[in-house]
Amino acid sequence: MLSQDHAVTLKALAAACPELREGADIDAIGDVVPGFVAWPSGTDQAAGLLRAAAEHDLAVVFRGTGSRLGWGVPPDRCDLVVDTGRMDAVLEHAAGDLVARVQPGAQMGGVADLLALAGQEIALDVPATATVGGVVASGLTGPRRLRYGSPRDLLIGITVVLADGTVAHSGGKVVKNVAGYDLGKLFAGSAGTLGLITEATFRLHPLPAARRFVTAEFVAPTVGCDAVAAAANSPLVASAVELRRAAPGGPLQVAVLLEGSPDGVAARAGRMADLLGAAEVAPEAPSWWPGPLDFTAAGTLIRVSFWVSALGRVLDAIDGAAAGSGTAPGVYGSAGAGVLYLEFPPGVAGVSSFTGALRAALDHERGGVVVLAAPAAVRAELAGHGGMAGRVPSLGLMRAVKDQFDPGHRMAPGRFPEVI
């Protein structure tokens, strides 16, 4: 950008949002350093910023704490980073209605502490430092996906600012609401490519009074897979059924989380232990419990989704792909909910061929293999193996939605790999 344009742009942005500075190396996303970083105080300033950005044809990326900005693909260009750090309030907590309205920059740990005062929670297992906006925009989901779903399942209302500065709402403050289209569903998981979320309203759940973890280890994979399905399908109502296998061909560690009343949980845990056979019951999670998905490292993170009935075939496919690519990844995750993760440290060879082989082996199964994060070298290699996203149904419709919401393609351009 010419320095004259830069000065004009700076002035326009500052008029909309006084908390503004020039971009620096620390603001880089990949190797793209933005020209400016702004901290709007709320929806109005955010709208003014995006209007100014539109007038000056700026590419914009939204940032919470930035912990997952390295996921996916770096933007093609980024002129302005809009940081949600000043929009960090819990605007409303209607405990009697089990509803909370939150700003996107609020960190989930702080929100959880506040809601816990009334014995309530947003039932998502995410890192305490993750921001509300980041959680919704990335679709980040932890072990209790099995019982409560992902962020979009708990979102009942949203305020967004679009690329041209338009402010729009959908949903509301009541759990039952089918008036109009649900923009919250579209924005959840959209990684900032449709616009900025400036308010999110969630339905809450009561904090459980007690928890128990029932853990077991299985040497025979079929027995282990059957146990995962049995636990997930049991009327004992597991909140989470997690799996870990440290290396291909290794034993399966299974852990089931039960939540409820103290007596109820104790009784159910005993019965779940019987169901799994030779299991232990403890009030604390086992040391390997995956917990919130907190991958911020420089390596590769892959997510596999599937029907639970295919778990055995998925593990076999991982074994085959590992053998063929000379890798030996561990696997962990919400197997009971049909989701597993694999991590590869940076510098490991064979990641992209592993991915391609796994996709081929699972081609006839429902679900997919998505590379959520990878170093630049791996991303480049993945192009020949299905890219980061693999197969994405209805890509044309997704592009049509993007074109409607962001015709100038300035919201995190290029960010949704191979999709937008």
Partner: protein, 494 residues
């Protein structure tokens, strides 16, 4: 204008030949009397006779039918069982009505994965029937579940009495095969519920048939609960019942269902099904608890104590399925039952924050008195979804108008208290005029961006949800000369 309408209807009718090639002659209706039988859905106050009715039998036939409409620039409306209460399936008088009721197979059941794949014409209850042998059920359970179709449930994001705990259709659908308004078959979501890219699946559910037609639905199945207990508590007043509900929620319990009925609806239900609810009750509260035996026993004790402390005149409890069904019969018969009290009634579907229920019910009572129009109240007390039944004599024009004014005032109240104009029935044609009261112009215009992405030609169930259509493909930015269609007075720009 009539001339244009006739021409348009003729254009639709001219498709009959092509539709016959696609669906077979018995599945294409042109006889005027047959067409009229499809003129409305469950909302009988809005009617329109379609120019043509087709009943496809496969997803490919649905795609062919839609493609034919798209190529001929003819609007189309999809219909499941026709039980909707917002007029979502009211046909377009110059268009084709596509009826999905022939597509009613359960295609696949995977009890280990707890998933099934069903066609859109499958009734809601028959999904549960198909999976009951595996100890599973399909959780969203609208009161019309014996008849209503899963495709229709998808269109409306149907809930039912158990949705506070068990969620809505959107929480139980993992993938959809749809026919886009251009006539292409495509999948939304991959059947696992884990989203890659935009959640088009989530956006499509609840879009009231305006973004395409569903041809296959991947549903999530729920393990049948070990224990189900139903508590009925009778109170002298709605206020007392409301206090019990507040305290139950405050105790950290999320019942499977909490329903309340007022004296008038109890009277109607009694006359209809002889449910034998406690006599003289001003309000009846039904609280259903489900889950693992150990949890339900604890919750049951707490709920009974709370109901008692709130001043219950009588408390009954049942855990036996037959007894429970008997108690539910009163509540489930309520809508139909009020037909005995009144020649006509308007069903409302507003939602208010649960904590505002007391105030809102008092307001409805006052409005009802002032208007001289009776209102029977049945509602999902746990989530604030009201179903005021506005009773009137439709042979008296003044009463008809007063009833409509009162209905509108009730919806205005719901909006005033930060609620919604529709909790589960949908906007359809019935409530589109209230959308600008609940949402700003920018909100509605932004929602319609989605419509433009799916249906730029505006042929898919047009005229539903949004009071005035947005013109798609406009250049964004400041408007200059009025668009010709605006100038002709056929659309507005927000």
């Amino acid at each position: 204008m009539a001339d244009t309408a006739d021409k348009a209807a003729a254009k639709a009718a001219a498709l009959a030949g092509r539709m016959t090639d696609i669906c077979g002659a018995p599945n294409v209706l042109t006889d005027p009397l047959e067409l009229r039988t499809y003129e409305c859905d469950g909302l009988t106050s809005h009617r329109a006779t379609p120019a043509l009715v087709v009943l496809p039998g496969t997803a490919e036939q649905v795609a062919g039918v839609v493609r034919a409409c798209a190529e001929a620039d003819v609007p189309f409306v999809a219909r499941g069982s026709g039980t909707g209460l917002s007029g979502g399936a009211v046909p377009h008088s110059e268009g084709v009505l596509i009826v999905l009721s022939r597509m009613r197979d359960v295609l696949e059941v995977d009890p280990v994965a707890r998933r099934a794949v069903v066609e859109p014409g499958v009734t809601n209850l028959s999904v549960t029937d198909a999976v009951r042998p595996y100890g599973l059920f399909y959780a969203p359970d609208p009161s019309s579940q014996v008849v209503c179709s899963v495709g229709g449930n998808v269109a409306e994001n149907s809930g039912g009495a158990h949705c506070l705990k068990h969620g809505f259709t959107v929480h139980h659908v993992m993938g959809l095969e749809v026919v886009t308004p251009a006539g292409e078959l495509t999948w939304l979501g991959d059947g696992t519920g884990v989203v890659s890219g935009y959640d088009l699946l989530g956006g499509f559910i609840g879009s009231e048939g305006t973004l395409g037609i569903v041809t296959k639905i991947v549903v999530k199945l729920t393990p049948a609960p070990e224990a189900v207990h139903l508590v009925l508590a009778a109170y002298s007043s709605l206020e007392q019942g409301g206090r019990a509900v507040t305290d139950i929620i405050g105790a950290g319990i999320v019942p499977a269902a909490i329903e309340m009925m007022d004296a008038l609806s109890i009277e109607a239900a009694e006359a209809a099904v002889h449910c034998n609810y406690p006599e003289g009750a001003g309000a009846v509260l039904l609280v259903e608890l489900d889950g693992p035996v150990a949890e339900v026993e604890a919750e049951l004790a707490t709920v009974r104590a709370i109901c008692d402390a709130a001043g219950a005149r009588e408390i009954r409890a049942a855990d036996d399925p037959v007894q429970r069904a008997g108690i539910w019969a009163g509540r489930k018969s309520a809508f139909a039952a009020v037909g005995r009290l009144s020649p006509a009634y308007i069903v409302q579907d507003g939602v208010v924050p649960r904590t505002a229920l007391g105030d809102v019910l008092a307001r409805i009572s006052r409005l009802s008195e002032e208007a001289g129009i009776r209102v029977a109240n049945v509602f999902h007390a746990g989530d604030g979804n009201l179903h005021p039944l506005v009773l009137y004599n439709d042979t008296v024009p003044a009463e008809t108008e007063a009833a409509e004014v009162l209905s509108g005032a009730i919806l205005d109240t719901c909006i005033e208290y930060g609620g919604s104009i529709t909790g589960e029935h949908g906007v359809g044609v019935d409530k589109s005029r209230y959308m600008p009261k609940m949402f700003s112009a920018a909100d509605l215009e932004t929602m319609q961006l989605v419509r433009c992405a799916f249906d730029p030609a505006g042929l898919c169930n047009p005229g539903k949800i949004f009071p005035t259509p947005r013109l798609c493909g406009e250049v964004p930015g400041p408007r200059r000369a009025p668009h010709p269609i605006v100038a002709a007075g056929q659309a507005e720009i927000f």
